[in-house]
Amino acid sequence: MSRIIVVTSGKGGVGKTTVTSNLGAALARSGCTVALVDADFGLRNLDLLLGLEERVVYTALDVLAGECRLAQALVKDKRLKGLVLLPAAQNRSKESVQPEQMKKIVDALAKGYDYIIVDCPAGIEMGFRNAIAAAKEALIVTTPEVAAVRDADRVIGLLEAEGIDNINLIVNRLKPGMVQDNKMMSVEDVLELLGVSLIGVVPDDERVIVATNKGEPLVLYEDSSLPAIAFTNIARRLQGEKVPFLDFMAAHDNLLTRIRRMFGG
C-alpha cells in the first residue's frame, strides 16, 4: 500500500518545501520509492530545493492537457534511486487545476511509488484544496510562533472536516536557547494547543539555508547536522520505527537549569 501524504501549514515561509525535499530524500535513501508532487502552481520551488530545475521539461499541467505521459513529466533524481519529482507549472495560476484532476494524477502515481508526498502551497484556497484532494494523511509544519500555530490550527480543522484524520506535526526552526529564556513558544505549548501527535522537531540552523540555496537536501550531506538527523528521524518515524526525540535543550543546559528542572521548575 502506498502512502499519500500532504505537507501543509497554512502560513507561508515556515518550511513546507524544505521539509518535503528532505523527507523525500531521506525516505528514498532508506530504500523506498518516493514521488514528490509540487502542488504550488504558479510559485513552484520544490525543483529548486532539489536542484532539479534545469531538468524540468514537462509539468503536471502538460500531463493534464494530454501533451505528455505522466512518466515523461517525472524528473528522476540522479543522486538517489527511487526519488522522482512531478513539477508544477510556473506560468499558470492555482485556479487552472481542479481537485479531481489533482486526485487523478496522485492516484496514478500511487500505483508506482511507496510514498507520494505533496508539497502544498500556503493559504487555504484553491491550491490547498488541490493539494489535499488525494491525501490520506497530513504532515503539518509549523514554527513556534503564534501566527504560524494559529494558521496550523485552522488547517487542521479543515483537514479534519475533509476526513483526513491521520495528522502529524513537525515543529520547525526551534531555537532551544530562546525557549530556555522563555522568549519562544516551546514544543509543549504548541502541542497543547494543536492537540495532534508530534512526529519531529527540527532546530533552526543556518546550514538549512545553505543547503536550500545549493539545491541539495541537507540529509544528503556527508557530515550530519542536527537538522539533518531530525529530518532522517522523521522519515524513520513515518515508516513506523520508534525513534526517541532529540533533546535540543540538553546543549543549553547549565547546572542551574538542570537543578531547576529536577525540582519541577
Binding site: R150, D151, D153, R154, I156, G157, L158, E160, A161, L193, G195
Partner: protein, 274 residues
C-alpha cells in the same frame, strides 16, 4: 434585492451590533418523534448573510460529529431543502455524509422542481411543496421564535477559523482555540480550555453564563456586554465562570457559583449573596 450596506468608521459605543447577535447556525438537525429533520437555510438567508456553501457544509459536519449520541443508528432522515437548488451530486454528498454516522436519507422536502426531480431520480421519497417555505412542517416559524433549542453537544475542539453558532446552550468537550468562537443563545460550557471567543446569551439574555475548566479567553461576551480577559493568568488554574454583574462581566470560581450567587432582575445581573 436589499441595498448594499454602508460601513462607517466612527466607533460610538462598545455594545454589540444586532446583526452579530441575530445570526445563527444555518443548519438545523432536530429530532421529531422517530424521524430526524435536517433543515437547510433558504437561498435568501444564505445570500443575506453571505454564507458560502462550504460553510453550510462544515456546519453540517459539526452537527453530525457532535450530536452522535442523540439518535439511534440507522434512523431515517428527512431533508428539508426548502428553496435550495440541489443537484444529484450534492444530494449524494449529503447522503454520504449522513451514512458516515449511520443515518439514512429517506425523504426530501423541497419547493424547487429541479431539486425534486434530482431527488426522485436518486431514489429518495420526495415531497414537493408550495413555493412558500413557511408552511414546511412548521419549522420556519419555530426558528424565528425565542424558544431555545436543545443543547448542542460538541465532542471536538473548536479550532481557529471555526465559529459555532447555536440557538441554545453549547457544550464543548474539548478546547476553544484562539481564533475559534462559540456563540450561543444560552449558556456555554467548555470542558477544556477556552482560549478563543465565547458569546453567551447572544439574543440578549444577561442571565447566561460561560463556564470553562481553564479560562484564558481572548474575549468574553454575554448578551450585549464585552470583556477582555485579564492579561496575566493566575498561577493556579481552576474552573471559572463568567457572569454579568451591574459593573460588567466578572469571573468567579465555578465550584461555588451556584451557592454564592443569585440573579437579580432589578440590576440585570448576578449578585454575590454573601
Amino acid at each position: 434585492m436589499t441595498s448594499e450596506s454602508t460601513f462607517s468608521i466612527d466607533i460610538t459605543d462598545d455594545s454589540l451590533s444586532p446583526p452579530l447577535v441575530a445570526r445563527y447556525s444555518q443548519v438545523l438537525l432536530k429530532s421529531e418523534g422517530e424521524k430526524l429533520l435536517l433543515i437547510l437555510p433558504t437561498e435568501q438567508e444564505m445570500k443575506l448573510n453571505l454564507i458560502p456553501w462550504s460553510e453550510v457544509w462544515q456546519e453540517l459536519k459539526h452537527h453530525l460529529q457532535g450530536k452522535e449520541q442523540s439518535w439511534q443508528a440507522g434512523s431515517s432522515v428527512s431533508l428539508i431543502a426548502r428553496d435550495q437548488l440541489l443537484d444529484a451530486r450534492q444530494l449524494h454528498k449529503i447522503a454520504e455524509t449522513l451514512s458516515e454516522v449511520e443515518l439514512g436519507l429517506e425523504w426530501v422536502y423541497t419547493s424547487r422542481r429541479q431539486t425534486a426531480v434530482a431527488a426522485a431520480a436518486a431514489g429518495y421519497s420526495v415531497e414537493q411543496q408550495s413555493s412558500h417555505p413557511q408552511s414546511l412542517v412548521g419549522v420556519a416559524e419555530e426558528t424565528k421564535s425565542l424558544v431555545l433549542e436543545e443543547p448542542l453537544y460538541l465532542q471536538n475542539t473548536i479550532r481557529s477559523g471555526v465559529e459555532v453558532r447555536h440557538r441554545g446552550t453549547i457544550i464543548v468537550l474539548g478546547d476553544v482555540n484562539p481564533g475559534g468562537a462559540a456563540i450561543a443563545a444560552g449558556d456555554i460550557f467548555v470542558w477544556g480550555r477556552l482560549r478563543g471567543i465565547a458569546h453567551a446569551g447572544a439574543q440578549g439574555n444577561r442571565q447566561c453564563r460561560i463556564m470553562a475548566l481553564q479560562m484564558e479567553p481572548k474575549q468574553l461576551r454575554i448578551a450585549d456586554m464585552v470583556a477582555r480577559a485579564p492579561k496575566f493568568l493566575p498561577d493556579h488554574v481552576e474552573p471559572e465562570v463568567a457572569y454579568v454583574t451591574s459593573e460588567g462581566i466578572r469571573l468567579a470560581k465555578a465550584m461555588d457559583f451556584a451557592k454564592t450567587h443569585s440573579y437579580s432582575k432589578e440590576v440585570e445581573g448576578w449578585k454575590d449573596s454573601f
